[in-house]
């Protein structure tokens, strides 16, 4: 009986693995999870923490990618402020410090770059952003984070009193991708599903 159950679980697992890698299943699920709203002017661009820094104190790829998206939105004139968040850990500088440095090196005026250094979770980031942007009268923000995490982050920021626009505006359904890339997308979808469940149980959503 146990062997039969194991075989059924294994067959489903192998079938899912093949379906994820060799069909657009992951693309469709990811697209379905992504909220859609027209991209437009806002009071601030908020770049959520993503990935942190390397042992040498450099931003890792995911963190730099998110920051560059925020810098690009700023340079397109979509908001006058750029709030960068990130992991507070790092022996040779934190993600927030490095992101602020890189933003200024990209030509964004120092007074337009705000930092949120105390947040360790997305929930902390929403509350921290309210503490920084609320007194400045900012109500509408453009949020920069992973596509899969956007729905949860948007809900948290809306609960914190913001009107939120996802950085990508309207999501685009991409059919392509290598099996490995699709597996990565599906992994982030599963992680996000677990995170949503936890946030609901914790009363954050």
């Amino acid at each position: 009986m146990a062997e039969r159950a194991l075989r059924a679980v294994g067959a489903v697992g192998i079938g899912l693995l093949l379906a994820i890698g060799f069909s657009p299943l992951a693309n469709v699920v990811s697209y379905w999870m992504a909220p859609s709203r027209a991209l437009g002017p806002a009071g601030a661009i908020v770049v959520l923490g993503r990935g942190g820094v390397t042992d040498r104190g450099e931003l890792n790829g995911a963190s730099l990618l998110g920051l560059m998206e925020g810098v690009d939105l700023y340079r397109r004139g979509l908001a006058p402020l750029l709030l960068v968040s990130g992991s507070p850990f790092g022996a040779h500088g934190t993600e927030v410090e490095r992101r602020a440095d890189v933003s200024r090196e990209c030509g964004i005026p120092g007074q337009a770059v705000l930092t949120l250094s105390s947040a360790r979770t997305t929930h902390d980031e929403a509350l921290g952003a309210r503490g920084i942007l609320g007194p400045l009268g900012v109500r509408r923000v453009i949020l920069v984070t992973d596509g899969q995490a956007m729905a949860r982050a948007m809900a948290l920021f809306e609960r914190a009193g913001f009107d939120v626009i996802p950085s990508y505006g309207t999501p685009v359904l991409e059919w392509g991708g290598t099996p490995e890339a699709r597996l990565g997308v599906m992994k982030r979808v599963v992680i996000e599903a677990v995170a949503r469940l936890y946030y609901r149980l914790a009363g954050y959503l």
Binding site: E3, A5, L6, R120
Partner: protein, 103 residues
Amino acid sequence: MKPLFLLVVVALTSMGACAVGIRRLGLRADRLRAAIASTCQLAGMAIVFLALNVALGLAAVFLARGVLRVFVSVYVLNDAYLPLLSVIQAVIFESWRGQRAAR
């Protein structure tokens, strides 16, 4: 194109293995179904180990946060080695079970 290419490569080596197995090693073609079932069983055991590892890891993370007041990121579990190690656990455990059955 790349996914299709990978499938074609794997299909060709699978057909080659079938040919070698039947003609050179004398394996019976009718036993292939049982081999696939065993593979599914092994995969099922790997999934069980992965679920246990994730559940235990999450419990440890939330225990550290709630009881010890130490912040540990859930992303410590986000590592490609966790599924690989789960597969190794499953292979060893299933081999062990197989030895008992052979006795």
